[in-house]
């Protein structure tokens, strides 16, 4: 029943309220600005996001920290862990944790599942040299627990 009410709610909306896309642009920009790279020495808050076995091998998974969505990559082939924003800056979609990971000329990378934009997991730069960059976060593993470092 609940969904049907929602549906009726839609239909009764006045026409002019359909056109508020610019709002999303603004909010997405705001969301994007939430993500700034953090280096290990600046971390003020190490947040525990789960046990290592919660994270599938050689791919990404998404965690939530306050209002942020962070993609965490368990790169078993090299034994390293990486974390980046989950938001792909190309089309503003929360999808990077779903992307395939691998390397380009030895640089570990994630490929966005939507349009295959490649980003370095080390520093977040776009590997095709495009003007797109994602924020990266430090990860540490203590006693089988996964921690991500934030400024606040």
């Amino acid at each position: 029943m609940a969904t049907i009410q929602v549906l009726q709610g839609f239909i009764s909306l006045p026409k002019e309220t359909y056109f508020y896309q610019p709002l999303k642009f603004k909010t997405m920009q705001e969301i994007l600005e939430k993500y700034k790279s953090v280096s290990e020495e600046n971390v003020n808050q190490w947040f525990k996001v789960g046990k290592t076995e919660d994270f599938p091998e050689n791919t990404g998974a998404c965690i939530k920290y306050k209002t942020k969505q962070i993609a965490v990559y368990n790169f078993v082939r090299t034994g390293k862990w990486y974390a980046t924003q989950n938001l792909c800056p190309h089309k503003m979609e929360m999808v990077l944790s779903l992307g395939m990971i691998g390397d380009k000329d030895g640089i570990p990378k994630v490929a966005c599942p939507l349009h295959k934009k490649n980003f370095s997991l080390e520093d977040g730069t776009n590997l095709a040299g495009e003007d797109l960059k994602i924020a990266t976060y430090p990860v540490k593993i203590i006693d089988g627990n996964v921690y991500i470092g934030f400024l606040e």
Binding site: I11, Y20, P56, K64, E93, M100, I101, G102
Partner: protein, 837 residues
């Protein structure tokens, strides 16, 4: 600044502009171009391509913006009416007056319509411009609506007539070719090769009538038939006249230039008419008492005219013009070069003829046996480029010249390497690009592949006939530089897909990591991971649930990821047959989860806007109601589209729905290099659009015709006939072989049509492999396919029954919250994702 007016904006007129703006003197000239047609110059040579896409823009030589960028005033849809030579002025139909320093007439030609009684009737067309084609298309559609078996004739069995025949056939009309002479293509072919061509064309459905002089066109207002003599009548409802061309030389007559006895404006070897300020080029120009109806000499004339105008007077038209041509007529290679019909006094001919395979090759050798004078090829012109070069450059020929045309035994061609050609050899005659130009674009110009070379030299951009040779040259040159031209998957594997497929199959590696460690290097990427997943899917018929992290995101979540990060759900509706109860279930599920619903192009129903955690719940309900995965997310078999068939349709010949269901169920879940679509039509009206699919079946008297390698999409292609009048069992057998052969050998993300394009030997070779089992692998292919069919399992059923797999369907690892950035807005009583930016 000097003023040039170009009258006529066809291929040659355009080429004149292109060459002039590319010259060093271009800044000293201002060009104004008049075109009579309503659009800028387009590629008339490939006019029949207009049928494939109906896209006039794709045929344009250059967009209207190009003229602007190069400071050329292009005035279309305006005819030049008169020339006043004393004042050097022209006047147009719209009373515009302009003066010139140089006038270039590139008015081309029009179709010659013989004075046959009744030729003015409705339904009689010429085949010359896009407007002619549009007229034909509209008329054909009306005819077909009234009579699906409507017939159309083409008057003229020459080169253009046969092109028009193809156009008529593509329109779905029954094509008839009517020729006055006793043979087809009388100018290019001798009697025997013409006969071979005729047999071939008849085998693909053209009806050919030779030795027919049309007395009158029958009908009241519209054409209903052609009368050749008493009691000799052909019933047709449309006629395309393609009986030759006439130069559009009216302007020359009006202003008093010297004209040829049978038309054409006389020019000298500088392309000047009898007035030195007026040039004529292309099909309006009469040079050496000849009108040259080919594009290459037209381009040469444009080049000469440009050079004369910019005072490079040494550039003149040669006395002898090479009229060699190679073309594909209705899929049949036809070529002639040099002197195709050589009198016995000048040399000897070597002829190879095979009527069963519709092959004919003739070469003419000088009396001393040392040089090649000309020849004719029908059915297989793959040797044309090389033979043409040998002829043009007077190269040495083998002691036994028959080697030049005999089917190559082992080890391929008797020509040796393309690199042996002299640097001056003209490889692309449309653009006058020599072998040296192409090689130096690589050795000095930094080009690394075909695309680079085309950008730099413009080779292949005219008729495109030289493409195979240019490709060979590029590959050979790269090889000689020590650069490898191997096709590899990505930086992690030095193999192509086919090689890796074989390795995985014989080595029994168990997963991607092992494949990467054994055969590759590095850590993989988004190219090789799904490719290896696809190989595993064929070799072991595993579903994406076993190795989820190497799958494309769609396969990992068994749904199509859409903009805003939500997913869409498509249950299988085999052949589009669905019960009311199933429809109700889909409707109820869509309502419950508030999904946007739409009928897809493949006769099923797509449900959009599901969040990842909802997917298992949705599928539990669908599976409980008897649905299974539709694999809309995979590079795999999608649907087999059907028309309603003999069960209901009064025209249907066989039960297309039943057969389509059987076939869709047979190949459901089959992973392949790219998506696969099928179609089954119950009669030749082809309502299922089966020829737009990777495989298509059309019911005919006595069974099914099997077509393969078609697709819609960005580069539409009609599927081509693989075998005729098959029973159900044989269809399945051939399909097993065809699909398995494609899956084994195609590159990643290569659909069947481009795969066939690249397959050496093309459809003839594919027929040998699939129908005649020339490789002796047919049984192997069938067994492999049967194994896959037997092991099919619905991967969604597998998923909802496994706790491990279910863990995947969650947005956050550390929270049960859902993604709060997903937002929808209403649209036409449903919802849509809130737009990006």
């Amino acid at each position: 600044m000097k003023k040039i007016i170009v009258v006529g904006n066809g291929m040659v007129g355009y080429k004149f502009c292109e060459k002039l703006v590319a010259s060093s003197e271009s800044k000293n000239f201002k060009i104004t171009v008049f075109g009579e047609e309503p659009r800028p110059a387009y590629d008339r040579v490939h006019l029949s391509a207009f049928f494939e896409n109906q896209d006039a823009k794709a045929l344009e030589m250059a967009p209207a913006a190009w003229y602007k960028e190069n400071n050329i005033d292009l005035i279309v849809d305006e005819k030049v009416d008169n020339i006043f030579r004393t004042t050097k002025t022209i006047i147009t139909a719209k009373s515009r007056q302009l003066t010139y320093d140089y006038l270039v007439l590139a008015t081309g030609s029009s179709a010659f319509v013989p004075p046959i009684k009744g030729v003015e009737k409705e339904g009689v067309f010429v085949y010359r411009t896009i407007e002619d084609l549009e007229g034909m298309l509209g008329y054909a559609a009306k005819l077909k609506a009234k009579n699906p078996h409507a017939r159309a004739a083409v008057l003229g069995g020459g080169l253009l007539g046969l092109e028009a025949g193809k156009a008529v056939m593509d329109m779905g009309l029954e094509p008839h070719i009517v020729e006055f002479a006793p043979k087809l293509m009388p100018r290019q072919l001798d009697a025997r090769s013409s006969k071979v061509l005729q047999l071939k064309l008849e085998s693909i459905g053209l009806n050919i009538h030779l030795n027919k002089a049309t007395q009158q066109i029958l009908g009241e207002e519209a054409i209903v038939g052609m009368e050749f003599g008493e009691e000799d009548i052909l019933d047709v409802e449309m006629l395309v006249v393609s009986a030759g061309i006439r130069p559009r030389d009216e302007l020359g007559v009006i202003c008093g230039l010297t004209m040829g006895a049978r038309g054409g404006i006389v020019v000298n070897n500088k392309m000047q008419t009898s007035d030195e300020h007026i040039f004529a080029i292309g099909e309006v120009a009469l040079y050496n008492e000849m009108i040259y109806g080919l594009v290459a000499p037209g381009y040469d004339m444009a080049d000469v005219a440009v050079n004369q105008i910019i005072s490079k007077v040494a550039c003149q038209m040669p006395d002898e013009i090479d009229m060699s041509t190679k073309l594909k007529l209705i899929g049949v290679d036809v070529a002639s070069f040099g002197e195709p019909f050589m009198p016995a006094s000048k040399g000897h001919s070597i002829i190879f003829e095979n009527k069963t395979q519709h092959l004919y090759k003739r070469i003419n050798i000088s009396l001393d046996g040392k040089s090649l004078l000309g020849g004719i090829l029908v059915g297989d012109a793959s040797d044309y480029n090389m033979l043409h070069q040998v002829y043009l450059n007077g190269m040495k020929i083998p002691e036994d010249p028959s080697q030049l045309i005999l089917p190559a035994s082992e080890g391929g061609s008797s020509f040796g390497s393309v690199l042996e050609l002299p640097d001056t050899a003209q490889v692309c005659s449309c653009e006058s690009i020599s072998k040296g130009d192409i090689c130096s674009s690589i050795t000095e110009g930094g080009c690394n592949n075909l695309g680079d070379v085309i950008d730099k030299t413009k080779a292949t951009t005219g008729c495109g006939g030289c493409k195979p040779m240019v490709t060979d040259l590029i590959n050979e040159t790269l090889k000689s530089l020590g650069k490898e031209v191997k096709e590899t998957i990505c930086e992690h594997f030095d193999y192509n897909r086919q090689a890796l497929y074989d390795l995985v199959k014989v080595s029994q590696v168990s997963d991607y990591e092992e494949v990467l460690n054994t055969f590759g290097k590095g850590h993989g990427c988004e190219i090789c991971k799904p490719l290896v997943a696809s190989i595993f899917a064929t070799v072991t018929m595993e579903t994406p649930n076993r190795q989820p992290t190497i799958q494309d995101t769609n396969d990992r979540f068994l749904a199509n990821i859409q903009r805003n990060g939500t997913y869409s759900v498509v249950p299988r509706v085999a052949a589009g047959e669905i019960t009311p109860d199933q429809l109700i279930v889909i409707g109820e599920v869509a309502k419950k989860y508030d999904l946007y619903t739409k009928i897809t192009g493949g006769q099923r129903i797509d449900l959009f806007g599901a969040q990842v955690h909802e997917l298992p719940m949705i599928w539990k309900e669908l599976i409980a109601a008897g649905f299974e995965s539709g694999h809309a997310y995979g590079k795999s078999l999608r649907t087999v589209k059907s028309c309603v068939g003999a069960t209901w349709c009064r025209y249907g010949m066989h039960e297309s729905v039943t057969f389509a269901i059987d076939i869709e169920n047979r190949y459901r879940g089959l992973r392949s290099p790219h998506k696969l679509k099928g179609g089954v039509s119950g009669c030749i009206r082809e309502c299922a659009e089966a020829r737009g699919k990777d495989f298509g079946l059309i019911a005919v008297e006595g069974g099914w015709n099997l077509y393969v390698c078609g697709n819609g999409g960005a580069t539409p292609k009609h599927a081509v006939l693989l075998a005729e009048q098959l029973d159900d069992e044989t269809v399945v057998k051939y399909l097993d072989r065809f699909l398995m052969f494609y899956i084994r050998t195609a590159g990643p993300l290569v659909r069947t049509a481009p795969w066939l394009d690249k397959l050496d030997g093309g459809i003839a070779y594919l027929k040998q492999v699939v129908v005649e089992d020339s490789l002796g692998i047919a049984e192997d292919l069938e067994i492999e396919m049967q194994g896959l069919v037997n092991r099919y399992e619905c991967e969604w059923k597998q998923a909802i029954e496994s706790e491990e797999v279910m863990k995947r369907f969650k947005h956050f690892v550390n929270s049960d919250d859902t993604d709060d950035t997903i937002e929808f807005v209403p649209m036409r009583d449903q919802k849509k994702p809130k737009a990006w930016v």
